[in-house]
Each structure stands twice: as structure tokens, then as C-alpha cells.
């Protein structure tokens, strides 16, 4: 996707076309992978790679040359959080399969996956299926978790993306933490 196409999509999106978001996914996906690579090549080996940092930086980079409305940021991060989840899941699933492939890409994403797994004290794959089960019970609640964990959004930002009050988001989040811990135990 060229920058021009991305710009058009962003414009359409700003004008209220929600389908434009889905069309943007490949571009967001590519940017996230590219960034992960760039991180690894950095001089600072001590820098921990954080999936949420990637998501935010992808946003900044994609948006940089465009006068895209600030209001869309939280929604963009929402999309990116979704993408991040898919990227990491895909990586975790194929991790076992290509153990012999020690490419940089793999190492990079390992680190990102590890960050999530460390916080959840669970396997990424289990985490993902638990989230899917939660989504079957409560679509919005699962989305809240996704935004918080993979997008790094605050309670308020999550409220803005989901269109409910911060208090509701907070309850969704706190109860989801209980549910996930029980399911993953």
C-alpha cells in the first residue's frame, strides 16, 4: 500500500467510513513488523521491546505526514491493538513449528510475546483462546481487555473507543481480570 492509498483511507475513515479501517490493517501490520525489526537493530540492547510501544509508535509513524484528526487516535490504537494481538498470536503459534529458524524477526516478536506472557503469567495461545471465550460471553468486555493489554490504552481512552463510560470500562476490566485468572489457572 502506498502512502497515497493510506492517506485516502485515513481521509475516508475521518469522514466516517468504518470499512476503511479494515482496509488499513495490512498497512498497520506491515508497519508493526517493520518497527519490531528496527527496534532490534538499535544500538540499545537493553531496551525492552513492548508491544504497546510498538502500537503507539506505529500510529505516530503512520499519522505523521497526515493532518488526520486527533480524535481518531484512540480508534486507531484500537485497531492497532487488534492487529498486535493477531501478530503476536500468529507468532506464538508458529513458534514451536520453526524453532530452528533463529531469524531476527522471530527473536523480536519473542520478546514482545514474552512481555504479555509475563504480565499474564500464561501462554499467549491460552490467553488468546480465553479472550475468545470471554468474547462469546461479552464482546465488549473482551474488547476492553484487548485494548488495555495489546493497545496499552488507559481506562479513559478505552472508554472513548468503546463509547461507554470510564466507570463501565473499569468494571469490565476488573471482572475480566478475575475471569481470566480463573480460566488460565
Amino acid at each position: 500500500m502506498t502512502d497515497h492509498d493510506l492517506g485516502t483511507l485515513l481521509d475516508r475513515w475521518a469522514a466516517g467510513d468504518r470499512a476503511a479501517l479494515d482496509e488499513m490493517l495490512p498497512s498497520v501490520y506491515g508497519e508493526l513488523r517493520r518497527l519490531a525489526q528496527a527496534y532490534l537493530n538499535r544500538e540499545r540492547p537493553d531496551h525492552t521491546l513492548q508491544p504497546t510501544a510498538l502500537v503507539h509508535e506505529a500510529y505516530v509513524r503512520l499519522i505523521q505526514q497526515r493532518q488526520v484528526d486527533w480524535r481518531n487516535r484512540a480508534q486507531f490504537l484500537g485497531v492497532a491493538a487488534q492487529v498486535m494481538r493477531r501478530v503476536l498470536l500468529h507468532h506464538a503459534e508458529s513458534r514451536a513449528a520453526d524453532k530452528r529458524d533463529g531469524g531476527r524477526q522471530r527473536v523480536t516478536l519473542d520478546e514482545a510475546v514474552a512481555t504479555i506472557e509475563q504480565a499474564a503469567t500464561v501462554d499467549m495461545i491460552d490467553m488468546n483462546s480465553a479472550l475468545d471465550r470471554l468474547a462469546a460471553l461479552d464482546q465488549r468486555q473482551a474488547r476492553v481487555v484487548e485494548l488495555r493489554v495489546f493497545g496499552g490504552l488507559t481506562i479513559d481512552e478505552t472508554a472513548e473507543v468503546t463509547g461507554v463510560s470510564p466507570a463501565t470500562v473499569k468494571r469490565d476490566w476488573e471482572v475480566a481480570r478475575l475471569w481470566l485468572r480463573r480460566e488460565l489457572a
Binding site: A14, G16, A53, H56, E57, R61, R73, G152, R182
Partner: protein
């Protein structure tokens, strides 16, 4: 488990989580009302709570950052968290707010912005901006900075809790405007001015915080490119401006819009429109199109009827949809808020005579009650004449006569009274309005043009002529003088005469005086032009005293001009003294000539004082000047101008004695100067020139006290100076002379023991 069932489980578990552990079981049992399966499900969820709280705890605070122990969380935004910290080293009992990049958010772009915020905070040092105390980097590489912790509450909550009246609310907002003006002067846009970012402590002083998405107006020298990206952090839709919605570049007008929204909310209790929570299109439409109710119509505080219209005008102007239609500067909004509070005419409204007259009549003009009454009568008469509208010749003549009586008789009668500076400006402005209105009706009337020019000249003098008591508004004065010059030039073209040329030269010299401090080359060009218009240097011996006086003043200006060499300046001063000595005894303008003679002598003394071998002459000059000024004061004890001239000489004397090592003599002379100036300032607190001089006196007194080995006196002098400086608000604070004095004061304050 069905989704419906899950909603019930979630609700009960969520409520239980918010309770103390001991109360949970009883609550769950009650809430489940005998539904055992439901109770079991909730109980098993609650049992899964991680006792350490670490599970998926993406918000967990660190134990310690730098020298601070983390004791709580104050707030969090998209990229950063603000913690409450306490000094862990026991060095000071100090609490602080510590802002740190959130774990997981430390991307290069975020770090860049974070560092930018820290740098911006470091450049802003203002009592109403949260202070930057410290900064550093955590072991895991996240930068943080430490700010003073404010035991304060958001602006609107404070006003509600204290049930502040309108006057206090307006004053509070005016102070906030001053702070924003300060930031703008330091080339910083705040960009996120909202209730939560303005905290008010128990002392009632507002503090601005969160420059997290502030932007430097200037080019960011680090990156070599302007920082114009549209801000990575989401702003709340509620407080965003139409231009933000349109994705246009943000300017100071955006901050002014936010200030307007806040003012609106302080008056009406709610923001002007409710922006829907979700839906970018609806949000954009609301912000771009909604026509809010006038704030006074929705007010939660009582508003006096007579100021309602003004208040509405001011607030609505601040939240105009088009940035260009708003106030040009935050200080202007602040000024108008103060004017509304005091019942003074606001600047926002196109001045109509009827409006002014009503304002005039409705306001109690303390200390000048007679003048006020007179002015009110005249205003009503004029308003009446104008309102009747038929441009009958009789009306025209009447209005003109009234304006002229304002301009000359009335103004001159009060000009020398202490405390009259704002009154003078008001009277003159009013005269100007009348004449301006008339001139539109009779554009070809040369006499009228002359009167208008004269009027602008006098308005400019009250606004900011250097040697006069003035309001310190140099820019406004410059604009007035500019108009006077243009009008006098028209007059001189239409009706060339010596007198017209001299009048034009005079106006041009006034204009030059506004450039002397900041653009001496421009001032010099204007002075040279003025000399030409007054008939050239050779005309200084002219039999025509006005012309000679003007040329004398031109010499004074040349002597003070930064582009003149030392020798040229000295020669100009000698010529000026010669001219004024001659005019001081003969001709119609002896009073003004004597005054300028006294000024020139003092200036000569001040310049010569740096050369020790000329001290005798210096004393002689100062003595002669003092004799002239004392005579003037004796002749008219109410003449504040003469008193200030006398004080100026005493101040110079103090400086010269101090330099010569006579510290006691210097103190005594300084004390006399200060006494005079303080007396005048008490009667005329808006007189910025006197205030600035007094700050200068405090600086000198502090230096003398230090030399004498009296640290207590030094501290007292600095404290006096600081309290004098802190009373200056609004656009007057931007006056360059005032700012120089304040800078000098902080320099000496830093040296105090």
C-alpha cells in the same frame, strides 16, 4: 453460561470488588437472592483475585523513582503516569508529583515528546505554573521528572466548593489568562487547557500544569524542524476548538478558545455545548456549528444586570469559531474580564457613544467623582445628540464642541492630578470616539482632522509617552501616535504652514520615543524626519517658540538615541540645554521649556557621573534642575508631574552619591525620591512609569544596604520591589522597561544572603 447470565455475574462481582473484603460475602448472598448457582459463580470469580494484584496489572507503580518513594497515583494519560512521591532520603519533608513514561509506552516518539515537555517546563518559571523540581532516568531507561505537588482541586470544583461569586471567578480566570500570556510570550502553546489542568490551592492561586502536549511556537532546534505534528495524545473532544477539528495548525488563538470555554463554564456551570462522546462526525459538527446560549442566560452565579451584555460579549468573542475573530492575546481577554468585573468599558465591543455613555454613567468613579459626573453629563448630551441621528449642522457643531471641551479643558484640568492617568486615557478615548465619528461624516474637514490628530496625540501620551505618567502601553501608544502622524501629515498637505509642519514634527517625535528602547535606528530616522519637518536644525534660533521647542525636544531625543555616538549625544544635549534656557524665560511655552531644561540637566548629570573629574559639574546640574522642579511644585502643590520630575533628580543624586561611596547620603536622597513616588503611586496605582521607577529604587536600596552590611534592609528592599512588581498584570506586564526592572530585581534577589 449465557451472555445474559454473565451480565448478572459481572454486575455482582464488579460491585463486590469495589467493597471491603469483609463485606463481600454478605453482599453477594443478598444480591444473588437465593440463586445458588449464581452465588457459586460469583464466589469462584472473587476467589480468583490475585492477592498480590500483579496479574495483568499493567498499571502497577514502581516502589521508588529517583530520590522519591512512590506513595500513590495522581493520574494517568495516554503515555505517562503521574505518581505521588515522598522524599525517601528524609532530607526534606517534601511531597512531589512525579511524571514518568508508562511502562510499555517508551517508544522513541513518546520519549522525544516527554523530553520536550520537560524542556518546556524548564523554560517556564512562573508562580502560577507548577514548578519543575528534578528529573532523571530510571534504571530501566524510562525518563521521569518531578514537579511540585499541589494540594489543590480543579478550577470549577474550587469555584463550586467556595461558592465564589462572579467577581472572584472572573479574577481567577483573568489570572489564568495572564499565565497563558506568559507562556505565549515564551513561545509555548499549552494546547490542552481544561479544568483538570488548572488547579487552585487553598490560597486561591491557580496553577497551570500538564504541558504534555504543549508546543513550542518556535522552531525546535533539536530536531531542526517545527514541532507541528497534530499531537499524539488525544484531547478531550469537549475542549477542542473548531480549528482542531478541521486539522488546521494550532495557534495562540486555540488556547484563547479554551480559556473562553472555561470562562463560560465558570459562569454557566456547564460547557457551552455538549459534545457527544462517540462519533467523530457528530463531534465535529457540534463543535463547528453549535451556537451556544449566552452565558449570562445560563448563569449559576448572580450577575448584575448592567454587566450582563459585556460579559456575554467577552466570552462569546473568546469562543468565536474563527480564530481571527477571537481576542488576539490571552492578556486582552484577561483585561476585558477584569474590566467587566470593575464595570469598565470592555475592549471587545466596537465602541459606540451610547455604549460608552451608559458605561460611564453606571460606574462609580471613585476619587474623581466630580469628573465622572461631568463626564457622564457630557456623554449623555453627546449620546443624545448622536442618537437623534439627523445629521443636522447644529448637532454636528454641538458634538464637536463637546469633544473639544473633553480634549482640552477637561483633560488639561485633570492631567496633573495624581491618580488621573486612567481617567485621562478614558476622557481622551471618549473625545477620540466622538471626533472619529464626526470625521467619518465629514471626511474633508481639515480642521476636524487636526482636532482628531491632536486627540490621538494626547491619547498616545496617556497610554505610554516615556517622560510622562503613563499606563505603560507602548504598543497602543505607538498605534495612536502613528495615526496622529498620518492625520497631521494630511493637514500639512492640505494646508501647508509652519505651524502644521511643527505639529507634524512633534507627533513624529512622540512616535520616535516609542522606538527608542527597542529599535533605535527606526527612532533615529523618525527624529531626522521630524527635524526636517520643523524647518531644519538651523531653525532652532527661530523667533517662533513652538518650532524652537520642538527642535529642542528633537535634540533631547537624539541625545538619548542608541545610534548616536557619545560625542554626538553630548553635543545634542548641549544644544537642547541652550534652546530650553532661552525659551525658559521668554515666549508662550516657558513652563514646558523649563521642564525640558530640568530633564536635560538631569540627563547631562547622569551621563557625566561616570567620569569622576566631572562630579562638580554634575552636582551643579542636579542642583539647578532641583531648583526648577521645586519652583514648579511650589507654584502648584497638586502638580504630580513636577513632583515626579523632582523625584527623578533625587534618584539620580542617590546613584551618584552611591558611586562616590557616600552611602548615607545616597540612602537619604533615595528615601526622598521613594517617598514622593510612593505617594503618587498610591493615588495612581496604574501608573506604570512610577511603579517601574520605584522598583528601580528598591534595587538601588538593596545594593546600598548590601554595601552597608545590612542584610535585613536588603531583604526588605527586595521584598518591597517584588510586591510592587507582582501587582502588575495584563498587558502592562509586557512593558519593556518594566520587564528590565523585574529582571534586575530577580538578579539582585538571587544575590541576597
Amino acid at each position: 453460561m449465557t451472555p445474559e447470565r454473565w451480565q448478572e455475574v459481572k454486575r455482582i462481582a464488579g460491585d463486590a470488588l469495589a467493597m471491603a473484603a469483609a463485606d463481600r460475602d454478605a453482599y453477594v448472598e443478598r444480591a444473588c437472592a437465593g440463586d445458588r448457582a449464581l452465588g457459586a459463580e460469583v464466589a469462584s470469580l472473587l476467589a480468583a483475585e490475585d492477592p498480590t494484584g500483579a496479574f495483568l496489572d499493567i498499571d502497577r507503580p514502581p516502589d521508588r523513582i529517583g530520590a522519591y518513594r512512590i506513595v500513590g497515583e495522581i493520574g494517568r494519560g495516554g503515555m505517562g503516569v503521574v505518581y505521588l512521591g515522598e522524599r525517601a532520603d528524609g532530607e526534606f519533608e517534601q511531597r512531589a508529583a512525579i511524571k514518568i513514561v508508562k511502562r510499555g509506552m517508551d517508544s522513541a516518539a513518546v520519549l522525544r515528546r516527554f523530553v520536550a515537555e520537560r524542556r518546556i517546563l524548564a523554560t517556564l518559571q512562573h508562580p502560577n505554573i507548577a514548578r519543575l523540581l528534578d528529573g532523571g532516568m530510571t534504571p530501566d531507561g524510562r525518563p521521569y521528572f518531578v514537579m511540585e505537588y499541589l494540594a489543590a482541586e480543579p478550577l470549577t470544583a474550587y469555584c463550586r466548593r467556595k461558592t465564589l461569586g462572579l467577581a472572584d471567578r472572573l479574577e481567577l480566570m483573568a489570572t489564568v489568562c495572564d499565565v497563558v500570556e506568559y507562556a505565549h510570550r515564551h513561545l509555548v502553546l499549552h494546547r490542552d487547557l481544561k479544568d483538570g489542568n488548572i488547579l487552585v490551592g487553598d490560597d486561591g492561586a491557580p496553577k497551570l500544569l500538564d504541558f504534555g502536549i504543549a508546543k513550542l511556537l518556535a522552531v525546535d532546534e533539536g530536531a531542526g524542524a517545527p514541532m507541528t505534528e497534530a499531537g499524539q495524545r488525544a484531547l478531550t473532544p469537549q475542549s477542542s476548538s473548531p480549528e482542531q477539528i478541521r486539522g488546521e495548525p494550532l495557534t495562540t488563538a486555540t488556547d484563547i478558545y479554551s480559556l473562553g470555554l472555561l470562562t463560560y463554564e465558570l459562569i454557566a456551570g456547564t460547557p457551552p455545548y455538549h459534545v457527544p462522546l462517540a462519533g467523530p462526525i457528530e463531534q465535529a459538527r457540534t463543535i463547528a456549528e453549535a451556537r451556544p446560549k449566552r452565558p449570562s442566560a445560563a448563569a449559576v452565579v448572580p450577575i448584575a444586570r448592567r454587566i450582563r451584555a459585556d460579559l456575554d460579549t467577552v466570552v462569546m468573542k473568546a469562543i468565536e469559531k474563527e480564530p481571527a475573530d477571537r481576542y488576539a492575546r490571552a492578556a486582552d481577554l484577561g483585561e476585558d474580564l477584569r474590566r467587566v468585573r470593575q464595570g469598565l468599558p470592555i475592549l471587545a465591543r466596537p465602541a459606540t457613544v451610547v455604549y460608552r455613555a451608559r458605561k460611564y454613567a453606571s460606574r462609580n468613579w471613585r476619587g474623581l467623582a466630580i469628573a465622572a459626573t461631568l463626564a457622564a453629563i457630557v456623554s449623555w448630551a453627546v449620546a443624545d445628540a448622536l442618537v437623534q441621528g439627523r445629521r443636522a449642522e447644529r448637532h454636528f457643531r454641538e458634538v464637536r464642541a463637546l469633544a473639544n471641551s473633553f480634549l482640552f479643558e477637561f483633560h488639561d484640568a485633570i492631567a496633573k492630578l495624581p491618580g488621573s492617568t486612567p481617567a485621562r486615557a478614558l476622557v481622551l478615548t471618549r473625545a477620540l470616539e466622538y471626533l472619529d465619528r464626526l470625521s467619518r461624516e465629514a471626511a474633508t474637514d481639515v480642521d476636524l482632522k487636526k482636532e482628531l490628530a491632536e486627540s490621538y496625540l494626547r491619547v498616545g501620551e496617556a497610554q505610554g509617552l516615556y517622560y510622562e505618567s503613563n499606563l505603560g502601553k507602548t504598543m497602543e501608544a505607538r498605534a495612536s501616535f502613528d495615526k496622529a502622524v498620518a492625520l497631521f501629515a494630511d493637514v500639512a498637505r492640505a494646508r501647508p504652514s509652519d505651524a502644521a509642519g511643527v505639529a507634524l514634527a512633534n507627533a513624529r517625535l512622540r512616535l520616535a520615543s516609542t522606538y527608542q528602547a527597542t529599535d533605535p535606528a527606526r527612532a533615529r530616522a523618525l527624529i531626522d524626519e521630524a527635524i526636517g519637518e520643523a524647518g531644519g536644525q538651523a531653525a532652532e534660533d527661530s523667533r517662533e517658540p513652538r518650532r524652537a521647542l520642538t527642535l529642542g525636544i528633537a535634540q533631547v531625543a537624539l541625545a538619548e538615541n542608541g545610534k548616536s555616538s557619545r560625542a554626538d549625544a553630548a553635543a545634542a544635549r548641549e544644544r537642547a540645554i541652550g534652546i530650553f534656557r532661552r525659551l525658559a524665560t521668554t515666549g508662550p511655552d516657558t513652563a514646558e521649556a523649563r521642564r525640558f531644561l530640568s530633564i536635560s540637566l538631569k540627563r547631562r548629570a547622569a551621563t557625566a557621573a561616570v567620569q569622576p573629574d566631572r562630579l562638580a559639574g554634575v552636582r551643579g546640574d542636579l542642583a539647578e534642575a532641583a531648583a526648577i522642579d521645586e519652583q514648579r511644585v511650589l507654584a502648584d502643590p497638586a502638580d504630580a508631574v513636577a513632583k515626579l520630575d523632582l523625584a527623578l533628580g533625587q534618584g539620580y543624586l542617590a546613584a551618584i552619591l552611591q558611586r562616590g561611596g557616600d552611602l548615607d547620603g545616597a540612602s537619604a536622597a533615595l528615601a526622598r525620591a521613594m517617598e514622593t513616588r510612593q505617594g503618587i503611586l498610591r493615588a495612581d496605582p496604574q501608573n506604570l512609569r512610577v511603579r517601574t521607577q520605584l522598583i528601580g529604587d528598591c534595587i538601588r536600596l538593596a545594593a546600598i544596604s548590601q554595601k552597608k552590611g545590612r542584610p535585613d534592609e536588603m531583604r526588605a528592599a527586595i521584598a518591597t520591589g517584588q510586591s510592587l512588581a507582582s501587582a502588575v498584570t495584563g498587558s502592562a506586564a509586557a512593558n519593556p522597561d518594566f520587564q528590565t526592572a523585574v529582571a534586575e530585581l530577580s538578579r539582585i534577589a538571587a544575590r541576597q544572603p
